[in-house]
């Protein structure tokens, strides 16, 4: 610019008042504020770099500048001003790295006493940006390592930066380095997030598969029990479906629902030691036979408590599925809330499915009969809240809201959907 004709100072006046000697400080302070604003308010990373470069160049009246960032083993020009496009990447040479590792502050290139390594570094950078005659090299980095280089050309007036100006530039460069470093951290976190997301999806898939295998094993076990009593085939699976629906209807936590699911499949596992003759007997049981049959919940408990289920109290729920609310049940004559809620649920589902199934000693009962039976034994045998949710599920099932309900009989054979619905509505009025 020194070749430019100097404009006359005709229009200028000497600063007066508060501006005398103060404008430089005000401008510098404003520049630092603009710099921080530019970094924090930019819409994206490149804009933050562009604004930072412009503030630096405006503050020190510099015509040309470029920010190189280290990417994939090279230094790439990320933003530039006052320069033609097409700046080539600069390879990481020994000199360049030595300079960047050694130097923390901005250095002036064309001075007596400037280290040879600085001059060689400037030369390497200039070969990538021939339009820029490098005056100031400013390393960008943190304690963790090298991030890039800020390369600046001469000032408008051709004067060198004063030590104070270099100090201010150093402060700006350290802000800029922190901004670049933060950006890298954000990028690393987001790529790590992607890896984790894929891993989590894979884990979920494996977990779902494991749960299926686990449920299949339990179902096979239950089928073995059902096989012993041909009259109760499919009983465990139906009780499990109904129990899970009631548990969800009561809003129980998922962990409890899963425990109820397993316990309701396996609640009769103790029958494996009951004489088959008792299970298939078509006449009334003797007292001794009844005693033996009533041992099955305790036997279920003994078998299941040996297994470490991933859900709580599975064995206990099986133990108490024949306890009644008034304390007249077995094996422990527990009452009301002494009986776990899961066991109270299985009790309703078990009783309902038993009534809906053919037994050796009777045929299945009509649906309204089974509903009335449960209604009549609320508070004696059954929990009123559980019964209410059960009635609602039944109504939804009959209205077709929950698809096919496996435990309901087919239309006909004395079963009228409309009649049962009317009966259910009457029953539900008693359970507000």
């Amino acid at each position: 610019m020194s070749s430019l004709p100097r404009a006359s100072e005709a229009g200028s006046r000497r600063p007066k008042g508060y501006l005398a000697g103060g404008i430089g400080t005000v401008y510098k302070l404003r520049a630092i504020r603009d710099f921080a604003f530019g970094l924090s308010r930019a819409r994206n990373f490149d804009e933050s770099l562009r604004l930072a470069l412009m503030v630096i160049m405006g503050t020190f009246s510099i015509l040309k500048g470029v920010i190189f960032l280290e990417e994939n083993g090279e230094f790439h020009a990320r933003v530039s001003r006052g320069l033609p496009p097409g700046i080539l990447p600069v390879p990481k040479s020994k000199d360049l790295l030595r300079f960047l590792r050694r130097t923390r502050k901005p250095v002036t290139v064309r001075r007596k006493g400037t280290a040879a390594v600085v001059k060689r570094t400037a030369g390497e950078l200039e070969s990538a940006v021939p339009a820029l005659s490098a005056e100031i090299l400013c390393p960008l980095g943190t304690k963790k390592g090298v991030l890039g280089i800020l390369l600046l050309g001469p000032t408008l007036t051709g004067q060198e930066l004063t030590p104070r100006q270099r100090e201010t530039l150093g402060v700006m460069a350290s802000f800029l380095s922190a901004n670049i470093s933060n950006h890298r951290v954000v990028l690393e976190i987001s790529s790590l997030n992607d890896v984790l997301r894929v891993q989590v999806q894979e884990n979920k898939r494996l977990l779902a598969k494991m749960r299926e295998i686990y449920l299949d094993t339990i179902r096979a076990f239950a089928a073995a029990i059902d096989a012993k009593d041909p009259y109760t085939r499919g009983h465990s699976e139906r009780v499990a479906k109904l129990s899970v629906s009631i548990a969800r209807g009561l809003g129980l936590p998922e962990e409890d629902v899963q425990a109820i699911h397993i316990a309701s499949i396996l609640h009769d596992v103790g029958k494996i030691v009951t004489d088959r003759a008792i299970l298939v007997k078509s006449s009334a049981l003797t007292r001794a036979e009844t005693r033996q049959l009533q041992k099955h919940p305790k036997t279920s408990y003994d078998i299941l408590s040996e297994i470490r289920f991933p859900y709580p109290d599975v064995a206990l729920l099986a133990r108490h599925h024949h306890e009644w609310m008034d304390g007249s049940g077995y094996p422990d004559a527990k009452r009301d809330h002494q009986i776990p809620v899961g066991a109270r649920i299985i009790a309703v589902a078990d009783a309902f499915d038993a009534m809906m199934s053919n037994r050796p000693y009777r045929k299945s009962l009509p649906l309204t009969h089974a509903i009335a039976e449960i209604r009549d034994y609320v508070n004696h045998h059954f929990d009123p809240q559980v019964a209410r949710v059960f009635f609602r599920i039944l109504r939804k099932g009959l209205n077709g809201e929950r698809g096919k309900v496996p435990f309901l009989p087919k239309e006909g054979n004395g079963f009228s959907r409309r009649e049962v619905l009317r009966f259910l509505d009457g029953t539900l009025e008693e359970f507000p």
Partner: protein, 118 residues
């Protein structure tokens, strides 16, 4: 933008006057740069930048001004500034801009000067 903050007026003899109103920062700087380059690219002989409505200039604004000064020099186009508020005039002195561009108190003086130099 609901109102025009950078306007261009034909000042006669191929000279255009560009008015810059508001806070000369990154946004206004871009508008000003575009307006000046539009004149130069269209073969205009010279530009007067009228800063009468410029309340403040920040470092980014100075960066744009310096860029314009350099570009006009490269293209051998003439440039003058006029109607600067005192604080902006002192800023141009401090940053060295006023050494390379003539500053005038009024737009008329600037236009007369440019008409003679073109």
């Amino acid at each position: 933008m609901s109102h025009l903050r950078v306007r261009t007026r034909e000042g006669g003899g191929g000279i255009s006057v560009v008015y810059v109103d508001g806070y000369l920062n990154s946004l206004l700087g871009e508008e000003m740069e575009r307006a000046v380059y539009d004149v130069v690219d269209a073969g205009g002989a010279g530009v007067v930048l009228n800063f009468e409505g410029t309340k403040l200039i920040n470092s980014i604004g100075i960066s744009f001004v310096i860029g314009i000064v350099e570009r006009m020099r490269e293209r051998n186009s003439t440039l003058a500034f006029c109607s600067l508020k005192r604080i902006n005039q002192e800023l141009f002195q401090m940053t060295g801009v006023s050494r390379y561009v003539r500053l005038f108190d009024t737009e008329e003086e600037a236009l007369v000067f440019l008409a003679q130099s073109v």
